[in-house]
């Protein structure tokens, strides 16, 4: 019996199930005439005698498609814009009429009095967490920026109760949904302090979150995970047995965007080294990845896409990346380069962005982008010279990165240059800032997929929002 058999069997299911699906899905036959499909009986009979022609080109396989896409990446020429006129950063105490400024080059700035310190979730939602005296989360408030004004978003709270390793784990997930933007927050510990738990969002999901439970020594560092339905509070165990039996001391559990696999870093009983694994969420199979790399340990694991996991290692000022291709079951070393050393003039190397893409800076400061999925390098970004004081912050979807240069003082980020690299649009735009030293710039982060925000302290806290079109 194989999966083709099951597909054939599904073809024979009861008509009433097909009709029911037809009604809900709108797959009901149309009364409209389709001229292309009108065939006379005589024509049908002739074809039956002659036989059906069979001269159709096959579509490209997904492997070939991938190669074609990365051939494009290899030839990709990033457009670089350095906006010539610097932003004149206003004093937070008095924006005056200057609350919205067009900086040119598709970049605009908006200055907003917020009045409170808020954290960005990176998708347009801001939040503030309230804590009780014992340090537990007592409430979360969500906000969004609309027309330069900070607006409340309704906060929902879902209570859950699960059992993990014989211990009751209870808590709340705080979440909001506004215009398809979703955020969820929750973390805590059990009353006996034997376990800690946290809520994390799943890519593409707004009704379900992942509840991860980490145990202490009393429970042998066991790991448990549940899919938590935010509307009902129902929790369904991810693992069939009580927890992930094969591994302990799980450090990471990252669900792939297609929800078919999870990347795990943990320890097995016979080897106390932290190692990476791929867990098939449907079959329950656990695949160790470390041996396939030929190295003894890995720093980081992340998903490049639904079918590719990346494993990275920084050692002795060197950076290595391996890509595990799930469909082909192959491990490939895709990057093996020195790390960029900002203390040494005239040296080149790579800059880790903590995502699928990497920056390569040559000895003269010229930058190219590397796709770690297969090591393909883009054409150089001409016109841009990398400032070794520069720092990079990857956007939530991994398709853009914020580049900034900080003239860092003791109590302020003092951002003197700010820009965004768009890996898919192959565009890199930066601008300089003057007057930043009149504000205490505390935080910089992605506000949403197109905007970066700098938050400042002072007279009620302000947001300096930069939108890159």
């Amino acid at each position: 019996m194989n999966n083709q058999t099951i597909l054939d069997a599904i073809g024979m299911i009861d008509d009433r199930y097909i009709v029911s699906a037809q009604k809900q899905l709108g797959c009901i036959p149309s009364e409209e005439v389709s001229l292309s499909a009108v065939v006379s009986v005589k024509h049908v009979r002739r074809r039956a005698l002659i036989g059906v022609a069979a001269a159709v080109m096959l579509l490209l396989s997904s492997f070939v498609t991938t190669m074609a896409v990365n051939e494009e990446f290899r030839k990709m020429v990033f457009e670089f814009f350095h906006i010539t006129v610097a932003e004149n950063v206003p004093n937070g105490d008095d924006f005056g009429d200057k609350t919205h400024v067009d900086l040119g080059g598709g970049v605009s700035a908006e200055y907003i009095h917020v009045g409170k310190e808020l954290t960005s979730s990176g998708n347009g939602i801001l939040y503030n967490i309230n804590y009780s005296e014992n340090g537990e989360i007592s409430g979360v408030s969500f906000y969004q920026l609309t027309g330069g004004i900070v607006q409340d978003i309704q906060t929902n709270r879902t209570e859950f109760h699960v059992s993990a390793g014989g211990t009751s784990v209870d808590g709340y997930a705080y979440w909001c949904l506004s215009d398809d933007r979703f955020a969820a927050i929750g973390r805590g510990q059990t009353t006996d302090r034997s376990k800690i738990w946290e809520i994390s969002t799943i890519s593409g999901q707004s009704e379900m979150v992942l509840l991860s439970i980490y145990s202490g020594i009393e429970d042998n560092l066991a790991f448990y995970a549940f899919w938590l339905d935010l509307h009902t509070g129902a929790a369904e165990a991810v693992f069939e047995d009580d927890g992930l039996c094969e591994l302990t001391h799980v450090q990471e559990f990252q669900v792939a965007p297609n929800c078919k696999y999870a990347l795990i870093r943990g320890q097995s009983d016979y080897d106390l080294t932290d190692a990476p694994y791929i867990y098939n969420l449907e079959s329950g199979n656990l695949l160790p990845l470390l041996d396939m790399t030929g190295t003894e340990n890995i720093d980081k694991v992340l998903w490049a896409d639904d079918d590719t996991a990346l494993l990275t290692l920084k050692k002795d000022n060197h950076y290595i990346c391996w890509a595990y291709h799930i469909q082909e079951s192959t491990m490939e070393k895709t990057v093996d380069e020195p790390l960029l050393n900002s203390d040494v003039d005239g040296s080149g190397g790579v800059v880790d962005l903590n995502g699928r893409y990497l920056l390569h800076v040559d000895e003269t400061g010229v930058v190219a982008v590397i796709d770690q999925k297969d090591g393909t390098r883009s054409a150089a970004i001409y016109g841009f010279v990398y400032d070794k004081r520069g720092q990079i912050l990857l956007g939530a979807d991994g398709e853009k990165a914020c580049y900034f240069v900080s003239a860092q003082s003791s109590d302020s980020l003092s951002v003197e240059t700010l820009g965004v690299i768009d890996f898919t649009a192959a565009k890199f735009t930066i601008f300089d800032r003057s007057g930043f030293d009149q504000n205490q710039e505390l935080r910089l982060g992605w506000l949403d997929k197109n905007s970066v925000a700098i938050s400042t302290a002072g007279n009620g806290a302000d947001l300096y929002v930069y939108k890159f079109e």
């Binding site: 999966n3 597909l7 073809g11 299911i13 009861d14 005439v33 499909a37």
Partner: protein, 184 residues
């Protein structure tokens, strides 16, 4: 024209049967075929083969629901066409993705009695479908019978793509457990 009258035309061996079938079900059958073959010319071919098969099937058949009768023929013909033309490579369309998703529901042993096994399995799948919720069932049938993409299912149901994926994931997991109990 009502289904019963169209079936009467087949029984009467009237050429109008094909015209009426094409008029009422042409697009429907084309949509099913295209989901599998991802190619207009191949899908047209499957639809034409469907009309021939229907002509040869009625009589003796007198289906109560003509849409599902024709849909099953189109689906079978299109899957056979896909198998013969893309045995080694991914041929596009949703069928390969659907097969990939279903692969975890059942152990993969090759069998020469595949047709018999499929018929037996169909009975158990019918029993399984009775046990799950309406949303789960319709999403499952939409994905693995109609071979609609996740995006299309999202548009047609009004559910988010994330919810569709979770519904399918849960249903496949339940099906796997169900088939395991049945010793598949």
């Amino acid at each position: 024209m009502e289904d019963a009258r169209i079936v009467d035309l087949y029984w009467a061996r009237s050429e109008r049967a094909i015209d009426e079938t094409s008029s009422k079900y042409g697009k429907y059958c084309f949509a099913i075929a295209h989901n599998i073959l991802a190619n207009d010319e191949d899908a047209d071919e499957s639809v034409n083969d469907t009309y021939l098969d229907a002509w040869n099937s009625m009589p003796p058949h007198r289906p109560a629901i003509l849409s599902t009768f024709l849909g099953k023929i189109t689906r079978r013909i299109s899957i056979d066409k896909w198998r013969s033309r893309s045995a080694e490579k991914r041929g596009g369309g949703e069928i390969f993705l659907a097969l990939d998703e279903l692969s975890e529901c059942i152990s993969s042993r090759n069998s020469v009695e595949q047709e018999i096994e499929a018929a037996e399995l169909a009975k158990d799948i019918n029993d399984f479908l009775r046990t799950i919720s309406l949303d789960e069932r319709n999403t499952f049938v939409g994905r693995y019978w109609f071979l609609l993409s996740v995006k299309e299912l999202s548009v047609k149901t009004g559910f988010s793509e994330g919810k569709i994926k979770i519904l399918l994931f849960r249903t496949r997991k339940k099906l796997k457990a169900y088939l395991k109990r049945k010793e598949y």
